[in-house]
Structures are given as structure tokens and as C-alpha cells.
């Protein structure tokens, strides 16, 4: 009977639709063009988004209560041995493990960095204890590790009525199925045609208007026209994907050239950022349609397109970018230093190349809300075309953009440290996790150096915590800790990797009289 009802409803809707369909679509397209050109907004997308989210939550509550009913009939609930604090009322779905509490790995990390307080124990018990912790941390990483999970799409707490985010084990009630069917028709029959029209209009306007603007002789007018054209086209594009973007701290926007740096989640990052400010784009010269678009854009403004051969020459690339950046009449460049799309739960290592071009960087943090549509592009799983289609058939793309105040390289700071500092700021602003992992790691292996470093850290921990080394080294390490930072740095400069224990002790005692005293004492004790 539910199927019959749904069929009747459908027939009614189709009848209505065919009458009003085309005029409806065209009027919406015209409205959008008007809004984009003037930069106004009616707030319709936001209201629809709120409505949708309310529907999703109702839907998941419905199915959760139905699931509980069926479960309590079938199984007895398991009580775990320890009391867990009552979680917020989310479904106990299997997909909730997006970021598990990595207790054992955190314990190892705190041990290695000397942050835990441990009484002096016998070497043996420490070693065995630690080996168990290493084992548990290893098993934990088999269940979830920081790198692999960053590259698969984020998990959602409640189903958003898109079959692409369906869980493998979820109770689908009839109510939810009807909702899904309605949603499906709404998306494919109403949203998609509007969006496709808008996309074509946006593309046409961008290409033709910028080509036309290229013929304007007056530079100032040209710049102003280009700005209007690009902003309008980008806004039309962003509406064609129903993107809802919130811009924060707009006073920090880059206006006079310079480099903007942002974290990367999807190919639409540029489009979203361009809705608010005009940027010069950087990329490789492509052939075909993309190449045609690139050429048209370049007629109205300076963009940086590299030949494939040029792109390999890092010096040439940075020189060209530097030239552009130092010219105040040119638009700011937008660069994504991660080098690849990350799933927007964290920020991976920034490549230092972009940070060598200029002393000042304008960081921008972007965070997508995946409740209405996941913008993350997993380039190893989806082709570009598939991805675009997915975006067009989602509910909406929600994003927050924070403009951070410009950051300047500090005295004596090298590019890597500068990059790390900027990355930290971006991660903090966007509420993303700051990871040291290299984005290229998802394709390559880790070097032995990191393994050696891990071993070295562990050794250092043991030597300060156990009775493994002689008394002298223990106390001198205490003294070292109490030294001022400057003194310590100076001391380390004197020491050499190749020095053996005696040489180290000698050098340290020369530097610090207290240690010399200890040495003479110990020598006397041995005699």
C-alpha cells in the first residue's frame, strides 16, 4: 500500500510538473544570474539546508528507535566490564569509529616524549611493560591509523538520504525509504536540470565575458570589468552546485597581490574562494576545452599557466611566481601546498616550495560540512567526471572559509619551519587536526630514518628512567635539564655524533663545573 501511495503521488507530481516545468527552471536561472551579478543573496539555500538537516535528524531518530525495538527482541544487550560515560545520543552504528580514541598510541607518544611521570623501576619491568604497550599500539594502528583514514571520506553521524553514503549495516525503515524516494526525485528532477543550466550559463559567461574584456584598452576599466565578470561567473558556478559558503574575517583578504595558501579538499576549492575575491590561478597548460578556458581567462587578467616541461623546472616556476607576486597590480595567487586532496579532517604536510617565493603569506582555512554532500575527491577512486556528477546530484556543498591575518617569515626561519607554522594556524582556524604526515605518503613508503628516530627516542627514555646506565650520566642529565636553553645549545654544538661516552663526559665537565665534580667523586668511589 505504501508503494501504491507513492506511485499515485508521483503521477500527480509529474502532471503538475510538466505544466510548470520549463518556465519554472528558466525563471530560477534568471533569478540566479541577477543575484550573482549583484552579489546579493536571498538566503534560500541556507533555509533549505536547515530544513534538510532537520529532516535527516528526524529520519535517523525514527530508524534508531525502530532498530532498538528489533534488537531488544533479538539479542540481550551487552554490558562491558567498565563503565563508559553515557555518550551523546548518537546511533551506535558501526561507522562511528571515525576517530577512535587512540589510547595506547597516545600512551607510547607520551612515554617517548618524556611527558609521563614514572618512578624509577627495574629495567626489566619497564621493558616488558613497554613492549606490551608497543604491541597494543601496533594493534591499534592496524585497526585505525592516522594516514589511511585521512584519505577515505569522513563518516557521518546520521544518514543524509544519499545512497552513496549508506552504511553497510543500517536499519532502513519504510518511512526512510519514502523519504529517500522523494529526495531522489527532488534532486534528479528539479535540482539537477537547474544546476546543469546554471553550470552552462556560468561557463559561457566566464569564457565570453573575459574574452570580450580582453579587448578593453584601459587598464583600470579592464581590471574592474574582469573582477565583476569573474565574481559573477564564480557565483553562478557555486550556485550550480548549491554551495553554501560562509566567509569569516573578510578584512584579512588579500587585495594587493601576494600569495594565498589554503588547505585542499576538492577541485571546487578555487571556485569557492573565487566567489569572494579575485585570484590569479596557477596551473599546468591543458589541451582541449580546459585549454580554451585557460586562454580566455588569460585575455582579461594575468594567470600563470605552465607548460608541462616548464613545470618540472622548479627554479623557473618559482621565478615566474615571484615576478608575479612582486607586481602589486597583479592579482593574488592561490596555492594549495598539500599537493593533493585530503578528506578535510586534517591538514597534511605543506610542501615548502610555495613558502620560498614570498616573505608574506595570506593563509586561508577551509572546512567543508559533509552533512549535505561530501566534497572530498578521492582521485584514486573517482574520475573527475564522476566526481562532478556526484556533486551535482548531492544536496548541497557547505563550506566555511576563514581568512587568517597575513603571516610573515620570521628572522632566521627557514621555509620548512615557516610552512609548518602556517599549517598550524590553518589547522587551528578550521578545526582540523594538524598532522605531520606527508600527503605523498599515501603513495610512498616511510623512510628508515623515521624508524631510527623512534628507536633513538625510546633509548633516551630508557636511559633516563631506568638503572641501565651509570649513575654519572643520570645525574648529568638532570643537570643538563636545569641548564638554560642557550647554554644547552652551546654545549650541544661542542659535542659530536662520533664521541664516545668518555669523550662526552669530558666535554660536558669542561663546560659545567658541577659535572666535573661528579666525575671526580665517581672516580674516587671506584678506587
Amino acid at each position: 500500500s505504501t508503494i501504491a501511495a507513492s506511485a499515485m503521488l508521483l503521477q500527480f507530481v509529474v502532471g503538475l510538473a510538466s505544466l510548470f516545468y520549463l518556465p519554472f527552471i528558466f525563471s530560477i536561472v534568471l533569478l540566479v544570474i541577477f543575484l550573482s551579478a549583484t552579489g546579493l543573496t536571498l538566503g534560500i539555500r541556507k533555509r533549505i539546508a536547515h530544513l534538510l538537516i532537520a529532516i535527516f535528524e528526524w529520519g535517523s531518530d525514527v530508524s534508531e528507535s525502530e532498530e532498538q525495538v528489533s534488537e531488544s527482541v533479538g539479542e540481550t544487550r551487552e554490558e562491558t566490564a567498565e563503565e563508559q560515560p553515557a555518550p551523546i545520543r548518537k546511533r551506535h552504528s558501526s561507522s562511528d569509529l571515525r576517530i577512535i580514541k587512540r589510547e595506547h598510541s597516545e600512551l607510547i607518544d607520551s612515554k617517548l616524549l618524556g611527558q609521563d611521570v614514572l618512578k624509577k623501576k627495574s629495567t626489566v619491568s619497564v621493558l616488558v611493560d613497554d613492549s606490551l604497550d608497543f604491541i597494543s599500539a601496533g594493534i591499534e594502528s592496524i585497526i585505525e591509523d592516522n594516514v589511511t583514514s585521512r584519505f577515505s571520506a569522513e563518516q557521518l553521524p546520521s544518514w543524509n538520504l544519499l545512497s552513496r553514503t549508506k552504511y553497510t549495516f543500517m536499519h532502513i525503515s519504510p518511512k526512510l525509504t519514502i523519504l529517500w524516494i522523494l529526495g531522489f526525485y527532488f534532486r534528479y528532477l528539479i535540482l539537477v536540470p537547474i544546476r546543469v543550466c546554471l553550470f552552462c550559463v556560468g561557463m559561457a559567461s566566464m569564457v565570453f565575458i573575459t574574452s570580450a574584456v580582453g579587448y578593453v584598452p584601459n587598464k583600470a576599466v579592464k581590471k574592474w570589468l574582469n573582477r565583476r565578470a569573474m565574481l559573477t561567473s564564480m557565483r553562478i558556478f557555486s550556485r550550480s552546485f548549491s554551495s553554501i559558503v560562509n566567509f569569516h574575517d573578510r578584512h584579512n583578504r588579500a587585495t594587493q597581490g601576494g600569495i594565498c595558501v589554503a588547505n585542499h579538499t576538492s577541485p571546487m576549492d578555487v571556485m569557492i574562494l573565487s566567489c569572494d575575491n579575485c585570484y590569479a590561478m596557477v596551473g599546468q597548460k591543458q589541451g582541449g576545452i580546459l585549454g580554451f578556458i585557460q586562454k580566455s581567462l588569460s585575455k582579461a587578467e594575468h594567470h600563470i599557466w605552465f607548460e608541462r616541461s616548464e613545470a618540472k623546472d622548479r627554479m623557473a616556476v618559482s621565478n615566474r611566481m615571484r615576478e608575479h607576486v612582486e607586481d602589486p597590480t597583479k592579482l593574488p595567487i592561490i596555492i594549495f601546498p598539500e599537493g593533493t586532496c585530503i578528506n578535510n579532517t586534517s591538514v597534511m604536510m605543506f610542501k615548502k616550495g610555495s613558502f620560498e617565493i614570498s616573505e608574506t603569506i595570506y593563509p586561508v582555512a577551509m572546512k567543508y560540512d559533509s552533512r549535505l554532500g561530501d566534497a572530498f575527491w578521492n582521485s584514486s577512486k573517482q574520475s573527475y567526471g564522476e566526481y562532478m556528477w556526484m556533486m551535482m546530484t548531492s544536496w548541497a556543498i557547505t563550506a566555511d572559509v576563514w581568512y587568517l591575518p597575513p603571516m610573515t617569515r620570521m628572522e632566521g626561519e627557514d621555509s620548512i619551519a615557516f610552512a609548518r607554522r602556517v599549517k598550524k594556524a590553518i589547522a587551528k582556524a578550521g578545526g582540523l587536526v594538524d598532522l605531520e604526515w606527508d600527503g605523498a605518503l599515501k603513495r610512498e613508503k616511510v623512510s628508515n630514518k623515521l624508524i631510527a628516530l623512534q628507536q633513538k627516542l625510546y633509548f633516551e627514555r630508557l636511559s633516563t628512567r631506568t638503572s641501565m646506565c651509570s649513575e654519572i650520566t643520570d645525574d648529568s642529565i638532570d643537570i643538563l635539564k636545569n641548564m638554560s636553553e642557550d647554554d644547552r645549545n652551546q654545549l650541544f654544538k661542542c659535542l659530536d655524533e662520533a664521541d664516545d661516552d668518555n669523550a662526552v663526559i669530558r666535554k660536558v665537565s669542561e663546560f659545567i663545573p658541577e659535572v666535573a665534580a661528579l666525575v671526580t667523586e665517581a672516580v674516587k668511589a671506584e678506587e
Binding site: T80, H92, L97, I100, T123, L127, D129, G138, I139, T148
Partner: protein, 196 residues
């Protein structure tokens, strides 16, 4: 969309859930993870499996000094070791050792003894059911690397054997191992709360 669309058949799910004592949600979570890690598939049965390389793809596991040992533990079972493929059942069997102990519902796979046995196989390289001084030195060296001289490693290993080896026969048997670990809170160390 590859692996994410395949799901565990319901019969399998029930069987594994009952045998391992894990809840269905946990089994499914592990299955998702298993699919994420697996890069091979059996041609005739369509079953996914893990090889040693798949484990080594996990960077954090490679960084872990005992990483290789942990991987070996998955291949410790004679059958699994021979075919060099870890099926989902084998995967779950090993991981279920780390389920927290539920006093009301004791289960064979995650008793204190089972956990200790798992730790024991970490040390016992040649599966002789005993830990020799050399095997202990082996683990020690994996954790510390080349930072410590051979004599020091030796002396630590000596100290350990002296403490643990009650009958002084040069080997640590499983009973002696359990006895030495009496004071350690194994339940807390080798359990994951999220594996219910």
C-alpha cells in the same frame, strides 16, 4: 566505488560475531577496515585477504619497533602461515584477543590467559613454547636499535632471565611468563574499549 560496496553476508556476520564474542557493530567496523587494508582478492571465491605487504602498508605499524612481530602474529597459526593469506576470520580472531574482558560473559578468545599467550608469542620467535635469552635479546634490540652496546643488551637479558626463570633451566616457559607478569595489569594494557 570498489570495496566499500561489498558487505559481509549475514550468515558470516552472525557466525563470526558469536565465535569471537564481538558485537555485530564491531565485526562490521573491523570488516570495513579489513577491506580498506586489503589489496588482494581470491579469484574463485571472491574472498578478500591480507598479505604481509598489506600490513606493512600501514605506516605507523612500520614505525613501531615491534611491528614485524605483530604482523607475524597474524600468520602464527599453522594454516594461515602456510597459505600466507589472512582471511577476515583470521583477522578477527587475532584482534578479538584485545576485547575487554567481560566478567559476566567470559569468552575463550579474550581471557587473561589468551592475552598473555598472545604476548608470549611476541617473544617466542620459533614457536618453541619457550623464550630463550636470545629471543629476548632479539625483542630488546628491536625496541632500542643500535643505540645500546651488545654488552649492555646482554646484561639486561641476563637480568631478565634471572628474574623470570624460576627453575633456572635457561628457558622461560609459559607458566613462568605468566608468573612474571602477575603484577602487570594485562587486562588494561591489552584491551581496547571500542572493541565491544
Amino acid at each position: 566505488m570498489g570495496a566499500s560496496t561489498s558487505s559481509l553476508p549475514a550468515g558470516e556476520l552472525d557466525r563470526i560475531s558469536i565465535e569471537s564474542g564481538l558485537s555485530k557493530q564491531s565485526v562490521l567496523t573491523l570488516y570495513k577496515r579489513f577491506l580498506q587494508l586489503s589489496t588482494h582478492r581470491e579469484r574463485d571465491s571472491g574472498q578478500y585477504f591480507l598479505t604481509k605487504e598489506d600490513f606493512l602498508n600501514i605506516e605507523e605499524l612500520r614505525l613501531n619497533p615491534l611491528g614485524v612481530r605483530i604482523i607475524d602474529a597474524f600468520f602464527a597459526d599453522a594454516e594461515v602461515g602456510e597459505r600466507e593469506k589472512v582471511y577476515f576470520y583470521d583477522f578477527v580472531k587475532v584482534l578479538s584477543h584485545f576485547r575487554p574482558i567481560n566478567k559476566n560473559k567470559p569468552h575463550l578468545w579474550n581471557t587473561r590467559e589468551a592475552k598473555l599467550r598472545f604476548a608470549f608469542t611476541m617473544y617466542d620467535l620459533n614457536k618453541s613454547e619457550t623464550i630463550t635469552k636470545d629471543e629476548f635479546k632479539n625483542i630488546l634490540q628491536m625496541m632500542i636499535g643500535a643505540n645500546v652496546s651488545d654488552e649492555q643488551v646482554n646484561s639486561i637479558a641476563d637480568r631478565t632471565m634471572r628474574e623470570a626463570d624460576k627453575d633456572n633451566d635457561g628457558y622461560i616457559t609459559f607458566q613462568e611468563f605468566c608468573h612474571a607478569m602477575e603484577k602487570t595489569d594485562i587486562e588494561q594494557k591489552m584491551s581496547f574499549h571500542f572493541l565491544a
